[in-house]
Amino acid sequence: MKQKILSKSDAIARIRDGMSIMVGGFGLVGAPLELIDELYRQGQKDLTVISNNVGEPGKGLSRLLEAGRIRKAIGSYFTSNPVVGEHVLAGKLEVELMPQGTFVEAIRAGGAGIGGFYTRASAGTLLAEGKETRVIGGQTYVLEYALTADVALIRAHKADRLGNLVYRKTARNFNPVMATAAKLVIAEVDEIVEVGQMDPEVIVTPHLYVDIIVQREGAT
C-alpha cells in the first residue's frame, strides 16, 4: 500500500514557485489553515490562487497576499477582504472574478474531463463581456472553460490511510470538487483511521483523488 501520510512540511515542500493552487474553504470555514500557514512559512511565491475568497486580513490566504506572494487570484467573492482591493489598485494582484456557481462548475469540469460548458449565469452582464454565448432553448448561455491547478490544498474531517475522505457540515463546500481538479491533492484532516473503518456508502471523496494526507496538529 502506498504511504500517503506525510508531515505538513514534506507535503508543502512539493509546491514550487509559480504554481497554481486551489484552496478549499468558504471564507475560513473548511479552509486548510495549517497547510496555508506552512506554505506561508516555506516562502513559495508567484502563486496563482484559485479560491472562492482570499482569507481575511491577517488570516489564511490573506497572509500570503499581504506578503506579496500571490500573483493572481481566481474566485468569486473577494470583497470581504479589503487587502485584495488594495493590492488590485496598487497593480500587485491580478483578479479573475466569476459567479460562484460558474467558479465551482469550472473546477468540477476540470476534474471531470469536461472541456467547457454553457451556463445562464452572467449572461447579459459585465462578467460575460468578451465571452462566447449560445442560445439554447431560447435562452442565452455563456461558454465557460474548465479550471485545473497544479495543487489543491483541501480540508477534510476524517481520512483513512488510503485517502478516502469525509467532511464536516458546511466545512465541506469547495473541498471535494477541488480534490478532483489538481495534479497533486493534499488534504489536511482532523483524524486518520485505518482502512475499512469508513462506511463505503458515506465516503464523499474516494481515495483515487487524494495524494497526500496531513494530520492537523492544532485542536479541531
Binding site: 467573492y77 483578479v95 472574478l97 473546477i107 449572461a123 452582464t125 467532511y167 469547495f174 470538487v177
Partner: protein, 211 residues
C-alpha cells in the same frame, strides 16, 4: 414593526408550504421570522446546507455551520449538507423555489443590479448571478430609495445588471410591484403609502393595477 420587518413580513406572504427558499443578506434574512402558520419552508444556503435554522444561542456556536454571510446558524431536523457544486446545481437547475434578495437598483423591466457598487473595483459577485437566473421565483425586498432619497427603481439601471432575467416581485416599504412581460405593475400600496408618494419616489414607468 419597523419598516424592514414590514417588508420582510409582506415577502413571507409569498411563500407556500414546502417551498425551498434562499434568503439574501439584510431584509431577506428576516423573512423567516414572519412565516404564516402552517407554512413550513426549507432554507437553502449556497455554501452547502438545506435546512438552515435560526442563529445559535451564545455558547452553542458550531464554527462549521455557517450561512452564505459566514454567520453562525443552526441546522434543522431533516437537513442535509452537501458540496458547493451540488449546491449551485440546485440553484441553477431550478430546484430552489424562491430566492429573496436585496437590490441596489431595479430597472423598468424588473432586472436587478445588486452586485457591484458604483465607482469601486468589482471584486465580488458570489452567488447572486446564479440565484437570479436559476431560482424558480425571485423576489426583491429593499428600501424604496437610497439613504439620500434617490429612487432605486429606475428606468435604466446605472449600475451593472446582475442578470438578464427579470425578477418576479419587488417589495419596498411603499409598494409591491409585479414584474410582467410589459414591465412593472404596481399591485399594492403598503400601509400608509399613497400612490402619489410612490410616483414621486419611483424613477421608472409602471402601470397601476391596485386591487
Amino acid at each position: 414593526m419597523d419598516r424592514k420587518h414590514r417588508i420582510a413580513a409582506r415577502a413571507a406572504q409569498e411563500l407556500r408550504d414546502g417551498d425551498v427558499v434562499n434568503l439574501g443578506v439584510g431584509i431577506p434574512t428576516r423573512v423567516a421570522d414572519h412565516l404564516p402558520p402552517g407554512v413550513d419552508v426549507y432554507l437553502h444556503t449556497e455554501n452547502g446546507l438545506l435546512g438552515v435554522g435560526p442563529a445559535p444561542k451564545p455558547g452553542e456556536v458550531d464554527p462549521d455551520v455557517v450561512n452564505a454571510s459566514k454567520l453562525p446558524v443552526t441546522q434543522t431536523p431533516g437537513c442535509s449538507f452537501f458540496a458547493s457544486d451540488l449546491s449551485f446545481s440546485m440553484i441553477r437547475g431550478g430546484h430552489v423555489d424562491v430566492a429573496i434578495l436585496g437590490a441596489l437598483q431595479v430597472d423598468a423591466q424588473g432586472r436587478v443590479a445588486n452586485w457591484s457598487v458604483p465607482g469601486a473595483t468589482v471584486l465580488g459577485v458570489g452567488g447572486a448571478m446564479d440565484l437570479l437566473v436559476g431560482a424558480g421565483r425571485v423576489i426583491v425586498t429593499m428600501s424604496h430609495t437610497t439613504r439620500d432619497g434617490q429612487p432605486k427603481i429606475v428606468q435604466n439601471a446605472s449600475l451593472p445588471l446582475t442578470a438578464d432575467r427579470p425578477v418576479d416581485l419587488v417589495i419596498t416599504e411603499l409598494a409591491v410591484f409585479q414584474v410582467t412581460e410589459t414591465g412593472l405593475v404596481l399591485t399594492e400600496l403598503m400601509p400608509g403609502a399613497t400612490l402619489e408618494e410612490v410616483r414621486r419616489r419611483t424613477a421608472a414607468e409602471f402601470r397601476v393595477q391596485l386591487a
